[in-house]
């Protein structure tokens, strides 16, 4: 690659139904926080890369009103209708290509303004799947059940959930009041589900040396039809992680902090196996025992599509800088963060970050 890219500033906010702030005001606040965290105000910012979805925002072409809130005025701005980690990879590419010298990346989703289940149903093919009333949560449930059928060790599920809950309770950024949980579908119980929240994440990146460096990025995808995918294996995440590790020239054993996007507790467990952190069937045990796996509390700390990949990147960044607060895991040197997209984790982005 041309040159190293660094994360200069990072910010993340989870809130719920704050009537004092419109969506654009929420975005303005978190982007302002990330810019302040980076120092130098807006000097040199020439590029803005966003991740948001019209149907989440409730506006067709929502970036008309939201891009300016993220600092896009008279700048080169692009909005991905895709996960925040994917947008992050596009922003890194801009710097590497020499097209930008300082770039804002922001991603958001405001669950309190829309009906998350209604939207999730709309993602599925109108002709064949939608009449079944399928939602992404159901796909997660089927993956979870398949994992158990395949011999996944479920005996640690309560311990994993307890650890996750404690982490979310200790995470200064987690949503502590409000939020929304769906009705669980078998084999889930309510606490396995994500806590839908109003989420905004933002970073500022540049080629100027700073505290966190981007060491590797990988992306991959899976077929559309659920029956064509590798159930309970997250193959897109596996390939994305392999590509990121290859670029970083390291093995999974050298990663000491993981912030992995997964809608539910089981998705997070399966993801740990997919990236090679846990042996097949042992993802839940790993989640129960290793506090460096989703120390933020994962989807229990707050969840909103399509912000989560960037939220994971922010949590990993704060960990590498030693400023994650109540959930800080010692002094990690290398972190792996991931983000998944609709429909039901069809595409994945893995990012490896290093403390400088």
């Amino acid at each position: 690659m041309f040159e190293d890219v660094y994360i200069e500033g990072a910010a993340l906010e989870f809130s719920w139904a704050d009537p004092k702030r419109s969506l654009t005001e929420l975005i303005f606040d978190t982007v302002s926080n990330a810019v302040n965290d980076a120092g130098q105000e807006y000097d040199g910012i020439d590029s803005v890369v966003l991740a948001a979805h019209d149907l989440v925002d409730g506006r067709s072409l929502s970036s008309m009103v939201t891009a300016p809130a993220a600092g896009a005025y008279l700048r080169d701005e692009v909005r991905y209708s895709d996960d925040g980690a994917g947008a992050f990879s596009a922003a890194v590419a801009r710097i590497e290509a020499g097209e930008s010298e300082r770039c804002i990346v922001a991603a958001w989703g405001r669950a309190s303004e829309h009906d998350v289940e209604e939207l999730s149903r709309a993602l599925f093919d109108r002709i064949i799947l939608a009449p079944l009333g399928l939602e992404e949560l159901h796909v997660s449930a089927m993956n979870a059940q398949k994992w158990r059928i395949n011999g996944g060790d479920d005996s640690h599920v309560n311990a994993a959930q307890q650890r996750r809950k404690a982490a979310a309770g200790a995470n200064p950024r987690a949503l502590q009041q409000g939020g929304f949980r769906s009705q669980p579908a078998y084999p889930f119980v309510e606490e396995h589900l994500p806590l839908w929240a109003d989420a905004v994440a933002a970073v500022v990146i540049s080629p100027r040396p700073s505290r966190v460096r981007v060491k590797g990025i990988g992306l991959s995808s899976e077929p559309y039809w659920l029956g064509d995918r590798g159930l309970a294996k997250a193959p897109a995440l596996q390939r994305a992680a392999e590509r990121a590790l290859y670029e970083a020239q390291i093995g999974i054993g050298e990663v000491d902090l993981f912030e992995i996007d997964g809608m539910t507790l089981y998705d997070e467990a399966i993801a740990l196996e997919a990236i090679g952190r846990a042996a097949p069937g042992q993802g839940m045990a790993m989640l129960a025992q290793d506090a460096r796996c989703n120390p933020s509390g994962g989807s229990m700390a707050g969840y909103s599509v399509p912000a989560m990949g960037l939220a994971r990147i922010v949590e990993a960044t704060l960990q590498l800088r030693g400023v994650a607060g109540g959930v800080q895991q010692g002094a990690p040197r290398i972190a792996l963060a991931s983000g998944l997209s609709v429909t039901a984790a069809q595409t994945q982005t893995a990012v490896i970050l290093e403390a400088v």
Binding site: M1, F2, S22, V48, H53, D54, L55, G58, R59, S60, L61, S63, M64, V65, A67, P68, A72, Y73, L74, R75, D76, E77, V78, R79, Y80, S81, D82, G86, A87, S89, A90, V92, A93, R94, E96, A97, G98, E99, L119, A122, L123, D125, R126, I127, I217, G218, L219, S220, S221, E222, P223, Y224, P235, A236, R239, S341, V342, T343, Q346, T347
Partner: protein, 386 residues
């Protein structure tokens, strides 16, 4: 810049394709582009998809129904009207960053499934302060058209002449949606939508898919390339009311396009656009919107705009505008800005058939999104930029 377009695929554009699913339209455009590029999907490192308002298709994230190839990096862009060009630019970026050597970019518009587009377009406006008004793409263009007439002396006949010229050019484009002779009088006699805009000055509701293959210079080989010499994108503020009093760049001064063009021209080494750009594929969903692009692209001053329109019909040395017929001939919204780039690429490669303009060394393609909020400019040429 060191990337070139070596393949273009277009399904052609119609009100609807009742015999094709969305994924089939995507596959068709991709297949045609790969064939034109003389490449296999396995040679593609990344796929970028451009799909704009989901509501027009009535399908959420329709792009994900058609994965192309196995396990490739895949991202979707939605920047409204500039989506197609944003997606091409993103592909170019990944190549410049050396994260990919070959990128397949596909844009799909599926508005054939929508009953009415204006109701959907009303939802692009701010729900807090503006959605209660009949703000639509038509009325926002009309607000500008009336200002252009007052400030620079454009008349209804100018708008009608531009529209008529676009229809005439579309007659030579077998892919266009609307192919019929329309005289300026026909345009003026068509129903008035919102003063001063007549129905035949507005674009049709079209669906279809467009794809391009972009490769790193090392992969061009002996293929026929359209080199990406310049590519730039600028976003303006949202509120049109804020731009009215902006010094030096009011509502009808298309500042975002002016800045994007300036940057693209600088990358491409274009300093006399009127002479150096033989073909112009211009994104204007309404004939009157073209007028704002002329000064932004450096073809004339704003005051000389009406004269520039009249001269287009008599001066063969001027750039040829929308030889494909432009959005007047077909406006598959998500793809339209990519179609402009694809058509400009065909012009540069000498592959534009009956609509080929002679001696196109360089061409420019523009994109517009939102209420002239997002602008893109792409300069393509027979040579790699210095």
């Amino acid at each position: 810049m060191s990337a070139a377009i070596i393949g273009v695929g277009q399904t052609g554009y119609r009100r609807s394709f009742p015999d094709k699913s969305s994924r089939e339209l995507i596959w068709e455009a991709a297949r045609l582009a790969l064939e034109d590029a003389n490449m296999d999907i396995d040679g593609i490192d990344m796929v970028i998809s451009g799909v704009a308002p989901d509501a027009l298709a009535g399908e959420a994230s329709v792009e994900r129904t058609a994965m192309l190839g196995f396990g490739k990096p895949f991202l979707r862009i939605n920047t409204g009207g500039v989506t197609g060009s944003s997606a091409v630019f993103a592909g170019n970026t990944y190549i410049q960053a050396r994260r990919a050597r070959a990128v397949l970019v596909v844009g799909l518009e599926r508005m054939g499934q929508a009953t009415s587009s204006q109701q959907v377009f009303n939802t692009i406006f701010d729900p807090v302060y503006e959605k209660d008004f009949p703000l639509t793409t038509i009325t926002m263009a009309a607000l500008r058209a009336s200002m252009l007439m007052r400030l620079y002396g454009y008349t209804a006949m100018h708008w009608a002449q531009i529209a008529s010229r676009s229809f005439r050019n579309a007659m030579r484009n077998p892919l266009a949606h609307i192919r019929k002779e329309v005289s300026p009088e026909d345009v003026l006699n068509s129903p008035m939508l919102a003063w001063p805009i007549h129905r035949l000055e507005a674009c049709p509701m079209s669906e279809g898919a467009c794809a391009v293959v972009i490769v790193d210079k090392g992969m061009v080989g002996d293929r026929n390339p359209a080199w990406i010499q310049g590519a730039a994108s600028i976003t303006d503020s949202y509120a049109m009311g804020d731009r009215i009093h902006r010094p030096g760049a009011t509502l009808v001064d298309l500042l975002s396009l002016k800045l994007a063009a300036k940057r693209a021209y600088s990358q491409a080494g274009v300093d006399r656009p009127r002479e150096q750009l033989r073909a112009v594929e211009l994104y204007s969903a309404f004939s009157s919107a073209e007028a704002m692009a002329y000064p932004a692209l450096g073809f004339c001053t704003a005051e000389d705009g009406p004269r520039f329109v009249e001269d287009q019909f008599v001066d063969p040395s001027l750039p040829v505008i929308n030889p494909s017929g432009g959005p007047q001939g077909a406006n598959p919204v998500s793809a339209t800005a990519m179609v402009r780039i694809a058509e400009a690429a065909l012009q540069v490669r000498g592959m534009a058939g009956e609509r080929q303009v002679a001696d196109v060394e360089r061409a420019v393609a523009t994109g517009q999104g939102g209420a002239t909020q997002f602008s893109t400019a792409c300069v393509l040429g027979k040579q790699q930029a210095a």
